[in-house]
């Protein structure tokens, strides 16, 4: 079972993510979007989207950078104060992300709401897997700390063994079930990436930094009577 979950699943997920991801980008470029529902939303979206996206971005970066530069991460976590600061920042970001995700899910669960009416089955699957992923990560941080330290000696060698095509799961085989759930849902999300709104992950809106202000014209009923209302948005 470990070989299935920690060797086959990661390879299948990565090959599909890259292969189908490129295919979709080339064949259906206009589907590379998260299908924003911003215009349908009330303030609730702010309390979901902002915490979730800031939190998950920083946490994902911490996981990736530690995996890419384990020696530097080991040095950072070696000092007592540095470890405490990083771990406390991590748990705070985790809870912050979880809060945002729960709000994002709750807004889609409101019966007959606009958000629910534009929710696809795949959105539901992605949100469920994300919930398990983030909740298990917070759980691991609380019940199996200091995850930042042992991550470098368990998951990171496994990732590298996968990267060099010499898979070795021995460092993760006997970890607690909650940690394994976190690993598996992480790769399930990569698997879902090319088939869902998650593709927007690789669409970095860098041009937003230098593009001019954008004039959004709202075709209001009264606009047809000659009055054009404008919203200035970045």
């Amino acid at each position: 079972m470990n070989a299935l979950l920690f060797i086959a699943l990661p390879y299948v997920a990565l090959v599909l993510a890259i292969g189908v991801g490129i295919y979709r980008k080339l064949r259906k470029p206009y589907t590379y979007s998260s299908l924003s529902s911003e215009i349908l939303e009330n303030k609730r979206l702010f309390w979901g989207s902002v915490p979730f996206h800031y939190g998950i971005t920083l946490i994902l970066l911490a996981h990736l950078l530690a995996a890419l530069f384990p020696s530097a991460a080991g040095w950072l976590l070696g000092g007592e104060i540095r470890r405490l600061v990083l771990e406390l920042t991590g748990i705070a970001l985790g809870i912050y992300t979880l809060f945002g995700l729960i709000v994002l899910i709750a807004r889609r669960l409101v019966p007959k709401s606009l958000a629910q009416s534009v929710t696809s089955h795949m959105d539901g699957i992605v949100l469920f897997v994300l919930l398990v992923q983030v909740a298990s990560g917070v759980g691991v941080a609380i019940f199996n700390r200091w995850g930042g330290v042992w991550y470098l000696h368990t998951a990171v060698p496994w990732f590298w063994s996968l990267a060099v095509l010499n898979p070795d799961t021995s460092t993760v085989d006997s970890l607690p079930a909650l940690v394994k759930v976190h690993f598996v849902t992480g790769f399930v999300l990569i698997l879902l990436f090319p088939f869902s709104r998650l593709v927007h992950l690789v669409m970095f809106p860098l041009q937003y930094l230098w593009r001019p202000y954008q004039v959004v014209i709202w075709n209001h009923r009264r606009a047809t009577q000659g009055s054009v209302r404008r919203e200035i948005a970045r």
Binding site: L16, T31, I95, Y96, V149, H220
Partner: protein, 287 residues
């Protein structure tokens, strides 16, 4: 899934087939000496005396080869069956059951027994074990061990510091890790210096073995760690600090603080589109 067509679904099904096909167990070659070092030396020596388990020098003369193979492959099954010699070994090891090792087979057990037989012939086996000092530990030993445990002094061969996974009663603050057990009384559990030093020379749990296989704790580091853990055991007790609860509360506080900060940061920004549209359309909002 709405955005993907029949062809993509075909690709998905094909890869799921590959996923299931590649899911079988992965066999790995094992060097027998490395296998013994990794899995056996934390409880056994060859000619160095008893640890948690018996000294294996000349073990082939104490039981039939076939019995030894069956015992190595599945010790618990032999005990459950009520085998008299297995029960005697259990009694001698004070109730500590030899673990069943992942991937252990009759062939691997035979290779281990061949190795033990060859090593038993030698005047001094490479698996005689670490001969730890009997002298009383000094304060410097204990402090040195605390530094290694805490990770302030990194382990020479790059192994993780104990605190990443373990706690001990004198750590204070948010205390130690919770992936592995509290080590405050491990000195008692393993019954003294010799067993603890042997354990540290090749940690045999399924989690620690693959990590320390490539990053063994140096023998000069084992002495201060044993000194620290011996000092922890004196006086009894375990880590009863409120570290985990404080950790959670600080995390909740930090998340709450971030919500406040983002609320303030967004005060002057456009945070909801629909509300503005509704207000404008009904003539109640700003143009």
């Amino acid at each position: 899934m709405n955005a993907v067509g029949r062809r993509e679904r075909g690709v998905l099904v094909a890869f799921l087939g590959l996923f299931l096909w590649t899911g079988g167990p992965v066999a790995r070659g094992q060097d027998t000496a490395a296998d013994f070092r990794q899995n056996c030396v934390s409880c056994h020596t060859i000619g160095g005396g008893r640890l948690t388990g018996p000294d294996l020098k000349g073990v082939s003369g104490r039981a039939e080869r076939d019995w030894l193979v069956r015992f190595i492959v599945n010790p618990q099954a032999m005990i459950d069956r009520g085998d008299p010699y297995a029960l005697k070994l259990l009694q001698e090891s004070r109730g500590v059951v030899m673990p069943q090792f992942s991937g252990m087979s009759a062939a691997r057990a035979q290779a281990l027994l061949d190795l033990i037989a060859a090593e038993s012939e030698l005047e001094e086996s490479q698996f005689k074990g670490l001969q730890i000092t009997d002298r009383p530990f000094t304060t410097a030993d204990v402090q040195g061990g605390r530094g290694l445990f805490m990770g302030v002094q990194p382990l020479r061969n790059g192994g993780p510091a104990c605190i990443g996974c373990h706690t001990a009663k004198d750590l204070g603050g948010l205390s130690g890790g919770r992936l592995g057990p509290d080590l405050s009384r491990v000195f008692e559990r393993l019954e003294g210096r010799k067993n603890l030093a042997a354990w540290l020379s090749a940690p045999a749990t399924a989690t620690m073995a693959p990590i320390f296989k490539n990053h063994p704790i140096a023998s000069e580091e084992i002495v201060p760690i044993v000194a620290y853990l011996e000092a922890q055991a004196s006086g009894g007790g375990e880590d009863m600090s409120a570290g985990p609860l404080i950790f959670l509360l600080i995390g909740l506080g930090g998340a709450g603080l971030m919500l406040v900060v983002f609320d303030l940061a967004w005060r002057m920004r456009f945070r909801t589109v629909r509300k503005q549209l509704v207000l404008t359309s009904t003539g109640r909002g700003e143009e």
